[in-house]
Point group: C2
Chain length 140, copies 2
Amino acid sequence: MKNITSGLEDYLEEIYIANINNKPLKGAELARLLNISRASVSEALSRLVAKNLIIYNSYETIQLTALGLEEAKKVYEKHNTLKKFFETVLEIPQKEASENACKIEHVISQNILNKMAEFIDFYEKNKTTLEKLRKENSQK
Amino acid sequence: MKNITSGLEDYLEEIYIANINNKPLKGAELARLLNISRASVSEALSRLVAKNLIIYNSYETIQLTALGLEEAKKVYEKHNTLKKFFETVLEIPQKEASENACKIEHVISQNILNKMAEFIDFYEKNKTTLEKLRKENSQK
DNA sequence: GTTTATTGTAAGGCATGCCTTACAAATTGT
DNA sequence: ACAATTTGTAAGGCATGCCTTACAATAAAC
């Protein structure tokens, strides 16, 4: 009853992002953003309502419940950490970093995310040293 | 017709591992390894046969086709790279590293995997320096 | 206020992927 | 050879998650 599938997490995340940007979000717009049919969104929103993650009345703006907000934030933060890690440490281009983060955010453990965040911190604090080292390494 | 779902990739991987270890693998054993019912395995094997990834006749050993071997290897290598990256760079315990690799291997891009492999290499060649740096950092 | 556009959803479909039950077929042990 | 074990699978179910078609309800534009 509590467990959220990765599909639903995607909906939550998108709703959350709309929230942050103060863009009122209706089902049809969500369908456009996620590139799926209105009918599918309609079903998904019902599931989200059933799980007490959103408040939704037809033709009105979709709203996150406290629980939904919490979950959405988690996913969003996971996404960001992954993206940043890929960009900073692995030098992956933005788009690819983001696309991969979208998928991995649903399956990776919190512990690894924390370690990634730590590593990003470490990497940035020692950027000069590390980049010099890496350059040397690649020349050998 | 070509695309393989992550579910099927798991089957392939397990078959491949049995192959490596010279352990003849039948459906029932696969069911035990993956912790699912024989019936589900039976279905999955049909799908794998249909996709020309395995050769399978009831009551005989499951065999990979050339195509299946290729796919299985890819997944297996992804798994190993991920696991090693988590263990080496992020200091994640073996079990957790492996569990996460199992899920991420199905969704991550080859390019990121390559960068991870490179980074592992760099990290190991400069282990002493890097670990000293990290220790200093954590004390601040 | 009425037409037009947007939004929502019911109905019926399809694939994946898992389950249990129950029986059939093959293999093993003695 | 025959019984016991193992293996395979058909049938019927369930949930997720996507689709299209077609219609209903609401909102926006004129």
